[in-house]
Symmetry: C2
Subunit: 350 residues, 2 copies
DNA sequence: CTGAAAGCGCTTACAG
DNA sequence: CTGAAAGCGCTTACAG
């Protein structure tokens, strides 16, 4: 750059017309440079680029879209309760979208507000909508139906069994099956369930997994599982787990293995048992769920289920792009993610 | 609704013109209903609303914006390395924006790509830009300058000392001052620094805080602090902390108190010391940073610094809205967040 | 290369 | 209430 830069305009330039006047070229010419069309002198191109640098002018994306350019935007609905695995999935998914040059419009979805959020996404003409997390089943079913009518692709992550939905979700029943099988092999036959009395679909699927694993061994669910969830209010998970452990210690007869809803509750329980003088895993075994970093920080380290977050995000992205690129598939797809059992120090023989 | 709903159109309706034809009203009338203008028959209004329900028609937000409607969108740049506190700040901030009816356009910012990201935000005509996390100082300084030229409000969260920037950040020097004062009161005078040798501004500020606290007591920084960071590669924080603790145990003379970069490293160190037969806090004290949930899960529980995330998000939102509502302030504002020391079981008298 | 024109999906006066 | 018109910021033929 040997020439001095052109003088800065006092007002920021907001339209291609103003910008053309500033550069001293026709609007049409500016447009052609911006869109990389052929038949332009190198000098002209350079002039325009230099002026863009100097002024910071950016073409209005909304006007571009009106002229038929794709929005290249994906709407993502997040559940209102952000658990660490949900955040990780969001981050992983966003990264994949980004590599394909999609922007993400993210909204947290409070129960009962999905209609408003999806309408906003549609008015923004997003190219697809992602639902990530736990939602009210009926609500999301309706939204999925509306999006289908609209011809807008969607994907539901983590919420299984939404009618007509393209779904990617961990096989939670299988995850519990893996845990119970592992504990069977160690000689356990009576299981304490910690925090698994929620009515959320994702939790019910897990209880069903335990039920099925027991059924295969001809064990009665009610006789071989025990829950004291009703004795405590779940506020902070760690404290909840600890309180549940204490209550189990006070029982005359108690299970030898404990299956927790998540890692935090498991570690709380682990501590609760230890404080009561029990050894883990010699006296009781404990398992978590999510395989978070904290699993290696407890003493002993925690056996847990890895949700395979990378695989989940990749499957979701694949499904989304498959819908967006013609010919669009019509039938809803369901992709089940295989959980991974990570055995650590908190489980051992009876 | 006594009448049967109108027949579903085979194609989704994409423009107000098509929609007007479908309802059997003039485009102008549709527009007036949508914008709640007076002088319309209740029956007409109802007809339009019913048709919107039936067709799922949503006006094109991009066209609305061209006609002068606000985008009500905020662009948020996140650092590429997402730490748990950064995620919490994002969630808290998004919640505040949402209550003010702003949508969030979120992009992860890889180093060197800030220009592209900010240009995208500007082309989307966002009403403000948020930078959240650690960035390359020079890069963000330029972006802030460009945004200022453009008249677009901004805020930088967590990255102090960006020239000309509106900033909200934890007073990290003060945080370390609180920790060192607390340890002084317990009789400690020699401090091990765990993972604090980063060149990141936020880390340097913390080291400066330690330095200042020592200076006040007329203690020489180099003589009273010790680091073995060079002996290990930081991969997983927990393992890194544990390895650092082992190395300190092997030293002939070792500090009595250890200040870790974050809670994970602190808990790793805690475990490392315990495995070597040292008692915490009887033999060594350990402190963390961030006051995450894991602080109450370790044995003993971990003394840490709370970043006051809610206060941070609120200050950031306030600053943003102050810039967006006229009369816009011109001078950059800096809001310092006061850290909170949370004393737990991992620190005790020498 | 320039310039005038049409049109994307809207809103907003304006005349009927 | 309707209908025709102008205009928001762009792109894309089209004639010079």
């Amino acid at each position: 750059m040997s020439k001095p830069p052109p003088p800065k305009p006092t007002q920021p330039i907001r339209s291609a017309a103003e910008f053309a006047r500033y550069v001293g070229l026709a609007r049409t010419t500016i447009s052609r440079v911006l869109n990389g069309q052929p038949g332009l002198k190198a000098k002209t191109i350079e002039r325009v680029h230099a002026a863009m640098e100097a002024t910071g002018f950016t073409p209005n994306a909304h006007a571009l879209h009106l002229k038929g350019k794709r929005t290249a935007t994906i709407g993502i609905c997040m559940e209102d309760l952000l658990t660490p695995p949900a955040v990780k999935k969001l981050v992983a998914l966003q990264r994949l979208l980004r590599t394909r040059h999609y922007a993400s419009l993210i909204e947290v979805l409070d129960p009962g507000h999905s209609r408003r959020v999806v309408r906003h996404f549609l008015s923004m003409r997003v190219e697809a909508v992602v639902f990530l997390g736990h939602f009210i089943e009926e609500e999301i079913t309706q939204r999925v139906q509306e999006l289908a009518n609209h011809g807008t692709p969607h994907i539901v992550i983590d919420h299984p069994n939404i009618a007509g939905a393209n779904t990617v979700t961990l096989d939670r029943a299988r995850a519990m099956g893996l845990i119970v099988e592992h504990l069977f092999a160690l000689g356990h036959t009576h299981f304490g369930l910690l925090g698994m009395s929620s009515s959320l679909r994702t939790v019910q699927d897990r209880v069903d997994g335990v039920r099925e694993a027991l059924r295969i061994r001809h064990l009665d669910f009610d006789r071989h599982t025990h829950s004291l969830d009703h004795l405590h209010v779940r506020e902070r998970d760690f404290d909840y787990g600890r309180a549940l452990a204490r209550s189990f210690v006070a029982e005359k007869k108690r299970p030898t293995a404990f299956l927790a809803l998540n890692d935090e509750i498991a570690i709380g329980a682990l501590r609760g048992f230890q404080e009561a003088g029990l050894r883990v895993p010699q006296d009781v075994s404990v398992t978590g769920f999510n395989n978070q970093d904290i699993c290696i920080m407890s003493t002993p380290t925690l056996t847990s289920i890895d949700q395979q977050i990378t695989a989940t995000a990749e499957a979701a992205a694949d499904m989304l792009f498959a819908q967006m690129s013609p010919p669009a598939r019509r039938r809803p797809g369901i992709h089940s993610i295989e959980p991974l059992l990570v055995v650590r120090g908190s489980t051992g023989p009876v």
